[in-house]
């Protein structure tokens, strides 16, 4: 069996890589000077040590510069209608002061991206996501009384994540945060929005504010967290592992964003990605609704599933088989999860494997031991729910864990 190539394709970014407003700090801490390009911005892969950063997310508290996220402000009398036209879930159900996770599709019902909707007010929203979406959102907003503003470059974001993150916020002097439940959103201080959200599956918060406030915010949190709460900055590599432990999916990795591919049949429906429950067919027309009804009728073509794989070797890019040697899919993300002590993966399987047929699935793992390759056939179990789950993530008010 040929080993599929590792997914290292990078999208072309046609301008000089930008620095985020936190760069004076992130640069100073980045001992490795290990940077990646995230949506045209320099983003730290690792500051000092991947292991240190990973364990800090699960045991202390961490700062992640999320400024490169695409941030689209959608404001005006028809703002809710436009968002409901775009996304698969019912936006009416996201109340003011709440955040909602969702996906959105093209006209063929193929997922364009996933992201979060922040509802600041009755007619005031922000859509945060990984893929550039401005011109498409302009198309979606045509004919509506609404303004779509790309705030990606003037609003910065900072994620404070980890079991002691609430303690850091408290020590930094932010008031009233103890009552914030998961997915709550609040303007904790004028011009500073705080949400109890994150990409780590752990207790955590995200700040959004204008660029000019960036360093003041960083320094305030740093001062509050450094002494007692083990606060350190983290890079994308540690984030990648914790998001996989939580079972979050990443565009371009676990599914192909519909706008980023040209080959026929590369798109995936929300059903196939495991988000069928989010699709609200009763809210009126939304993009791809007719196609999704057809897909619902015809059934899924694929299942994106979580796998618990025996043995300890990460099954990166591995083929997945059933029975004797029937190829049914491949692994999209894989890692050894130090916290759960499991060898975990996300894999895309041909339906109905991973759904109604779950027995006899195994993975062909290639292991490089100092220049010599070994092939290991490891049994895989389909897992429901996230690999990592801890009550502290949801406890309100949060404790000083």
């Amino acid at each position: 069996m040929r080993k599929p190539a590792k997914k290292t394709e990078k999208r072309f970014t046609p301008q000089k890589t930008q620095t985020t407003p936190f760069h004076p700090r992130t640069n100073q801490f980045n001992l490795m000077q290990n940077w990646d390009d995230w949506a045209g911005y320099l983003a730290a892969n690792v500051y000092e040590s991947f292991e240190k950063e990973y364990f800090a997310i699960r045991n202390q508290s961490t700062l992640l510069d999320i400024s490169p996220m695409c941030k689209y402000r959608i404001k005006g009398p028809d703002a809710r209608k436009v968002l409901d036209r775009v996304v698969i879930r019912n936006v009416k159900k996201i109340r003011t002061g709440r955040v909602g996770y969702t996906l959105w599709c093209d006209e063929e019902g193929m997922t364009i991206d996933d992201g979060t909707i922040f509802r600041f007010g009755k007619q005031d929203f922000m859509l945060l996501c990984a893929e550039h979406m401005y011109s498409w959102l302009q198309d979606a907003a045509w004919g509506y009384d609404v303004e779509v503003i790309d705030e990606s470059h003037n609003i910065c974001g900072l994620a404070l994540q980890g079991p002691t993150s609430y303690s850091v916020i408290k020590e930094a002097g932010f008031k009233g945060v103890e009552t914030m439940k998961p997915f709550d959103l609040r303007e904790v201080e004028p011009g500073l929005w705080l949400s109890r959200t994150g990409y780590t599956g752990d207790l955590g918060y995200e700040f959004l504010t204008e660029n000019k406030n960036a360093l003041k915010l960083w320094d305030r949190l740093w001062k509050a967290g450094r002494q007692n709460w083990g606060l350190i900055p983290i890079g994308l590599e540690a984030l990648e592992l914790v998001r996989l432990e939580t079972g979050f999916i990443a565009p371009g990795v676990d599914f192909q964003a519909a706008h980023a591919v040209s080959r026929v049949g590369r798109g995936r429906t929300p059903f196939e990605l495991g988000f069928g429950k989010l699709v609200d067919f009763n809210k009126g027309h939304f993009n791809g609704r007719r196609a999704l009804l057809e897909h619902q009728k015809n059934g899924k073509r694929y299942n994106l599933v979580k796998l618990d794989i025996e043995d300890k070797y990460p099954a990166d890019s591995s083929y997945v088989y059933v029975g004797k040697e029937k190829h049914i899919g491949f692994v999209t993300s894989a890692a050894w999860s130090p916290t759960t002590k499991r060898n975990i993966a996300l894999a895309e399987l041909e339906a109905p494997y991973g759904d109604t047929i779950r027995d006899g699935i195994w993975v062909e793992v290639y292991v490089d031991k100092e220049g010599k390759w070994y092939r290991i056939n490891a049994k895989a179990t389909v897992v429901d729910g996230s690999f990592f789950s801890n009550p502290r993530t949801r406890q309100t008010p949060p404790g000083p864990f």
Partner: protein
């Protein structure tokens, strides 16, 4: 509202396509109602009375009324056509008469290019007839690809391929060579540029934003000639065609309501259930067909009911009209030196060379009117005395390359300028025309849009070009008449196969609606 007010299908717009759709449905037992915004049916194909003189309001000749439509609707006894030869006018007086594929000077002497003209024209007609079956059905759906499920959709294409092969290697190669090329190169490869070449080139561009040198003009010529390329004058005027189709609809129980503008669809759970009129009344129905332009139909359906990508595409359908209409009511018939009385009744063409046409096209790119436009004129009253009870005559002129977006906009001054350009151009050939004018009526593309609702005043509602035809007409994924919302269908010229008074778009769409079970 009484129960009897519920229809199987409501057709928006009583242009010839809307009427053809209604007649096709009514003949198959559907309860149909046609809603027409204006006070008259026919759209671009109507006659208007002007003090006892019947004027072909916009379209004046038939060249593509589809035989299948005529047969299915049983129109052959209801309509009377008179085939007209074409006189290609020469500024130097060596006019050419073209009847069928034969061309000769009007004095009966032979034209040196007659043989090659006949060959080119015959080949274009042959290729056009090859493509005609594709026009007389729903555009193929290629989304299934070369799979078992996609087989029925690939069959017509396979048939086309087979027929092409059966023409022989040489002809098939020729088809492939010229199909997407431009008419200018095609003609001038074999002929001298001049009046005869101009006559062919002109037929490739009527109503379109293309010049003879634009790619795709060979294809548009094939489309125009796909039923033989003859121009015919309907006896009783163009309106007689619309009325004949309307009669078929009415005789089969359809209602036609004029002064009834459809404003908005009623959509429940993504299914059409009714139409709201401008006056606020709602009519219940199982399905709606719209013969309005693609974008206009989307707006009637409500853009919020269309996917983001579809809205973007429909907003960008190219439909800038390029053709104006000038109707000149005459006290008496003017004279053209070298033409007999009977020749004066022909289709008169002012397109003295392919180069002349290309020059005329240049102006429109800059929002200007060409000083020397391409004109197709006819004096129908010479062939059909029934329409000129007043004893007056009408010179009906289709004027090509008049911009929809005129620099400075359309107003009376611009219209007067256009009238003058047309009268001046015609007077070069008929010097006494000016003295015989009783009255002129000028319709710019903007006026045609205003009057008929055709987007941009465009003949085809949607420019007829390779990126807007077949499986992508009017736009990708909405090319099979079904138009987004369940029970909503597009049936006008912007749908496949396109414009001209052919009746196919309306008829095809109605058949697709029935096949889909949308009105049962």
């Amino acid at each position: 509202m009484s129960h009897s007010d519920k229809f199987d299908v409501i057709v928006i717009g009583a242009g010839h396509n809307g009427l053809a759709a209604a007649a096709t449905l009514a003949k198959r037992g559907k309860k149909v109602c046609v809603l027409e915004r204006t006070n008259a049916i026919g759209g671009m194909a109507q006659s208007r009375d002007n003090d006892g003189t019947s004027v072909p309001y916009i379209a004046h000749l038939l060249h593509n009324l589809n035989p299948t439509v005529v047969k299915e609707l049983g129109l052959s006894s209801a309509i009377k056509l008179k085939e007209l030869p074409t006189i290609a006018l020469d500024p130097d007086g060596r006019h050419i008469e073209i009847a069928g594929n034969k061309a000769q000077y009007t004095d009966g002497s032979a034209h040196p290019d007659a043989a090659i003209y006949e060959e080119i024209r015959a080949r274009i007609i042959k290729f056009g007839q090859l493509l005609e079956p594709m026009a007389a059905r729903t555009a193929p759906d290629l989304s299934e690809g070369a799979s078992f499920a996609g087989l029925p959709e690939l069959m017509p294409l396979a048939k086309l391929g087979l027929k092409m092969k059966l023409m022989g290697k040489k002809e098939m190669r020729e088809f492939m060579r010229i199909a997407l090329s431009n008419v200018y190169d095609l003609i001038l490869d074999d002929m001298e540029d001049g009046v005869l070449a101009g006559s062919l080139a002109a037929d490739s561009v009527w109503g379109m934003w293309t010049g003879p040198r634009s790619p795709g003009t060979v294809l548009s010529l094939m489309y125009r000639y796909c039923t033989g390329g003859q121009s015919s004058l309907p006896i009783g005027g163009m309106g007689a065609i619309s009325h004949a189709i309307a009669d078929v609809a009415k005789n089969n129980g359809a209602q036609i309501r004029t002064n009834s503008a459809a404003e908005k669809l009623v959509v429940e759970d993504d299914q059409v259930t009714g139409v709201v009129l401008k006056d606020g009344t709602t009519i219940e129905t199982k399905a709606v067909m719209s013969s309005a332009g693609a974008f206009q139909s989307m707006m009637i359906g409500g853009h919020e009911n269309f996917d983001v990508e579809a809205v973007r595409r429909l907003r960008n359908v190219r439909s800038k009209g390029t053709t104006a209409k000038v109707n000149i009511v005459l006290k008496d018939v003017p004279e053209i030196a070298g033409l007999s009385d009977s020749q004066m009744a022909s289709r008169l063409l002012i397109a003295p060379s392919a180069y002349y046409i290309e020059q005329a096209f240049n102006a429109i790119k800059y929002g200007e009117m060409p000083p020397a436009p391409v004109i197709e004129a006819v004096i129908p009253s010479l062939s059909d005395t029934s329409i000129a009870a007043s004893g007056k005559h009408v010179l009906s002129a289709v004027v090509q390359y008049i911009p929809y977006y005129l620099e400075g906009g359309w107003n009376d001054k611009a219209r007067n300028k256009l009238t003058k350009i047309v009268v001046d151009t015609l007077s070069k050939y008929a010097p006494d025309l000016r003295d015989k004018i009783d009255y002129t009526e000028t319709l710019s593309p903007a006026d045609i849009e205003q009057e008929t609702g055709a987007p941009g005043g465009h003949w085809h509602h949607c420019e007829f070009s390779t990126d807007q035809m077949l499986a992508v007409r009017p736009v990708n994924l909405l090319a099979r008449y079904a138009f987004g919302i369940k029970g909503f269908y597009l049936c006008g010229a912007s749908a496949h196969p396109g414009g001209d008074v052919s009746g196919l778009a309306g008829r095809n769409s109605a058949l697709q609606l029935i096949k889909d079970g949308a009105a049962s």
